[in-house]
Amino acid sequence: MTSFHEILLRSKEGPLVEEKAFDMSLFKKTQELQKKYDIHYDTEKPLDLDGTMADRLFQAGIELYLDQGTYCSTTHRVIKVSEEELFDAIEACPEEIELGQGDDRVRMVHRNVEGDQEPIVVAGIQTAPFSDEEMMFKIYEGCAGDRCIDGIWGGILLKIDGRYEVVAGTPSEIYQYRKTVEVLRKAVAAAGRPGMITINNAPTCSATIAMFDEQRGLRRSDYMESTGMSEMKVAYDDLNRSAFALAHGVPIHGTHSSVIGGFSGNPEGAAITAVAASLGLVTVHKAVCFRCGTVDARIKSRVTRKQLWVAGTAIQALNRSTRLIVDGTIGDHPAAGPGTKQYLYESAAGHIVSTVMGAHSTEGTRKFVVGTTCNYGTPLESRWMGEVCKAAVGMDLRTADRIVGYLLDKYENSLTNAPAGETYEKLYDMKTNAPLPHYQRLYDEVKKELKELGLDLQ
């Protein structure tokens, strides 16, 4: 397998290319490859039911990655690998890894399309701002208490001592992210799950590294996020994270989003890029599991019809053709806010597609745009994510397609004017840390609705 050091060498000695030329080349190639491999997006079919197109999509992704490579935005060089090196990297990836500790340890395994392997669910209000330690502790303790969740994503306390601003790339970022993860660890312990997976990712590598501490912070049994920049790019700050994780013995979880309407162009192009970029995460970032995703350049939700097809088919392609551990998490960032039926519909659609296509869901819960609004979420959205993912295990594609079609009808026309929802304070009883009756009723209504549709919710 091509070593990490060899990858670094290529990032310094590979072909020097202008970023714009790389971007435009990506567009040209994705448009060519969709014709060559007969990749078609059909607006009437959110899921590819027979998988034959997914197999062609995998081949197109391979060809794109070998042709295009990964662009290093720090050095303006293209990191390329040979076909043999690419397949060696895929082969070298484990089919399963263990995460967490003690009674909270879980196995994250390669999942098949329609597979019955348990998906790992890392919930929590991902990377969102919190008003104070007490509130953060309370919300995360509530999230961790649900047994259908395997791990928790952290957020950020916006002010140090309620007064000093946290600014990325400055000492305040290191101090506060470290503080945040300590609160997170205390919260999961208080929920009776001290070995639970805890994840957080700061804007800079130095602050992310500062969160690792076996006693009070992130541990080797958690994972390190190493993000690929959209589209098919990497910066040294990301590779610094990989370098630390490799040296420290932490599993690397890669993430990348292709962009519908971006340099991938149409949904077909974005699907090819989603596959190719995933291969880049394995080869360049040295990820042992990774998120294969997409965003829409125009709509602030991750579960538009196009996104469900792009991410779903890309995950399907990877899982049919490899034994890699794929994370989908399509339902992590709905347009609607917490406390609304639309949030639950959007979240369910994405997580059903992820799970049925053979992915795990490890990117938490959060409205797509939270801004600086603090405490913008509750443990109930985490429970929903966990319940839906576990209930969709073993579901066949046709059933998933039918349920997702129903859900799309519910929210599709409200994505650009989605309801904002409410913060924790308006949705939960602060003393008991339980949902207020109106929110619980809304949750139960949607749960009943989906059970009647055939989702095996407990």
């Binding site: 714009k20 971007d23 435009m24 567009f27 935005s73 701002p129 950020i156 916006l158 601003e165 946290v166 600014v167 990325a168 790339g169 970022e173 804007p203 800079t204 920049m229 959209s230 589209e231 910066a235 700050d237 962009v259 309407g261 971006g262 340099f263 991938s264 162009g265 149409n266 965003v295 350049a297 125009r298 602030k300 745009v369 939270v370 801004g371 600086t372």
Partner: protein, 222 residues
């Protein structure tokens, strides 16, 4: 064909060449436009403005994508360059071309949203200087001065990098340059309230609104 009809045909052909992303063809037609002594202001304010609007609408409806904006932007930049070369020094102001320095702030490497805004601005006739991502605050100010910019546009996708938008404004104030530039802010976590708090001149909740705000701030007709 009368002279007036010939002129109209040339302008229509130019618009179509831009909409076809045909940079070479746009250049060739522009040379004919210059030979025909058609007013460059008319070309900029009508033909290119019309093409820009159409491109913006097509992008918004999902009919075309970011690469198309790049190609159309390149064609329009070439046309503008040729038209400018026919004018005397300093006459660029007469053409109403406004300059925007744009980038993603320090410690933030998110590029796609900023790229889309930059391309839409270019497609709407702005001279757009894209500084890239992770841009130090001082570089925005330095480049704005060098480029004689009208607007500084600051993108931030993280709550912890939003303070750098304020820092650029504070540097401008400290240098007593604040009045020389309009400051436009945007990005995922950025809100109108934040823009007001840091005394920015404008805010765009998405790419289309950012362009509309830039036009309003610079007095460019929509």
């Amino acid at each position: 064909m009368s002279r007036s009809q010939e002129s109209e045909q040339l302008l229509a052909d130019l618009k179509q060449a831009i909409l076809d992303y045909a940079e070479d063809q746009a250049e060739e037609i522009t040379r004919k436009i210059i030979e025909a002594k058609i007013d460059p202001l008319q070309v900029m304010n009508q033909t290119i403005a019309d093409a820009s609007r159409e491109l913006g609408d097509k992008f918004e409806s999902g009919e075309i994508f970011l690469p198309h904006l790049v190609m159309a932007g390149d064609a329009m930049a070439r046309v503008s360059e040729l038209l400018e070369s026919t004018l005397e020094t300093g006459s660029i102001e007469q053409m109403g071309v406004k300059t925007i320095v744009i980038g993603t702030v320090q410690s933030d490497v998110h590029s796609i949203g900023k790229d889309i805004v930059a391309m839409l601005l270019k497609a709407n006739g702005f001279k757009t200087v894209d500084l890239g991502v992770d841009v130090p605050c001082e570089d925005f100010v330095r480049q704005a001065k060098t480029q004689a910019a009208d607007v500084i546009a600051l993108s931030s996708l993280l709550t912890t990098t939003m303070p750098f938008q304020r820092e650029v404004i504070q540097i401008l104030e400290a240098m007593e340059e604040r009045g020389n530039y309009k400051v436009l802010v945007g990005g995922g976590p950025v809100t109108g309230g934040w823009a007001e708090e840091i005394r920015a001149d404008g805010y765009g909740k998405d790419a289309v609104e950012a362009v509309e705000t830039a036009k309003r701030l610079t007095g460019v007709q929509s």
